[in-house]
């Protein structure tokens, strides 16, 4: 039993590094999605990728690095705040756009160029 714990303790920094790096890559993918996707409503989904899985992986890596301390508790609190507030903020932006009459592009979109749907800059 203590051997198993010992092995887990040796593995911990590596798992933390993998979590951190994959979290960073997923945040970058989400950011590139916000650039590449064609209109406002589809960009919301790319931002959602960053808000959920990217946040979770980066914070998980940091918690694994810090071990069971007050710092890891604070990091978990940061994650809890982010996961509670990000859907509310996303819904607020989407609802404001919907109420203001911004129409989404529906149907099938192939190979969109990033700024195809140019609206009037309000």
């Amino acid at each position: 039993m203590s051997d198993l714990l010992h092995i887990l303790d040796i593995l911990r920094p590596y798992v933390a590094g993998i979590a951190l790096l994959s979290g960073g890559v997923i945040v970058l993918i989400g950011a590139s999605g916000v650039l590449r996707l064609p209109d406002f409503y589809t960009r919301l989904h790319a931002a959602g990728v960053t808000d959920t899985l990217g946040t979770l992986l980066v914070l998980l890596g940091l918690i694994l690095l810090s071990g069971f301390t007050l710092l890891s508790g604070k990091l978990a609190l940061v994650g809890l705040f982010l996961l509670l507030t990000s859907p509310a903020a996303t819904h607020a932006v989407a609802n404001a756009a919907h109420k203001a009459g911004l129409k989404p592009r529906l149907g099938t979109i192939q190979n969109p160029s990033p700024d195809e749907a140019k609206g009037d800059a309000s």
Binding site: G24, L28, V34, F40, L44, V58, V78, V93, A100, S122
Partner: protein, 97 residues
């Protein structure tokens, strides 16, 4: 590893700035600011480990709350052009449940 993650986060923040400057609609910009804030929070957490001081996590906690309130405040201002409007329509001020 920590340094590489901070570089990745910086790169995605730069991409968010591009969307912030180019975004055709106001809502694209608000979304970019909000997403930039989320990445700033993550970067602050990573930064705490990078410089070996845990104080930056407290700043990240504060920033997480401020980011949310700022997004709501911007949206509310652009909808009503004022901030002293009640969000709830059914309950008025001083009215108990």
């Amino acid at each position: 590893m920590i340094f590489a993650t901070s570089l990745l986060l910086m790169a995605s923040m730069a991409l968010m700035l591009v969307r912030l400057l180019r975004g055709p609609q106001l809502y694209d910009r608000v979304l970019a600011v909000n997403s930039f804030g989320t990445k700033t929070i993550l970067f602050l957490c990573v930064f705490a480990f990078l410089i070996g001081r845990s104080d930056a996590v407290d700043i990240a906690l504060l920033y997480a709350l401020m980011n949310f309130i700022a997004t709501i405040a911007i949206l509310k201002f652009f909808r009503y052009r004022a901030l002293d409007v009640a969000l709830s329509r059914t309950r008025r001020r001083g009215e108990a449940r």
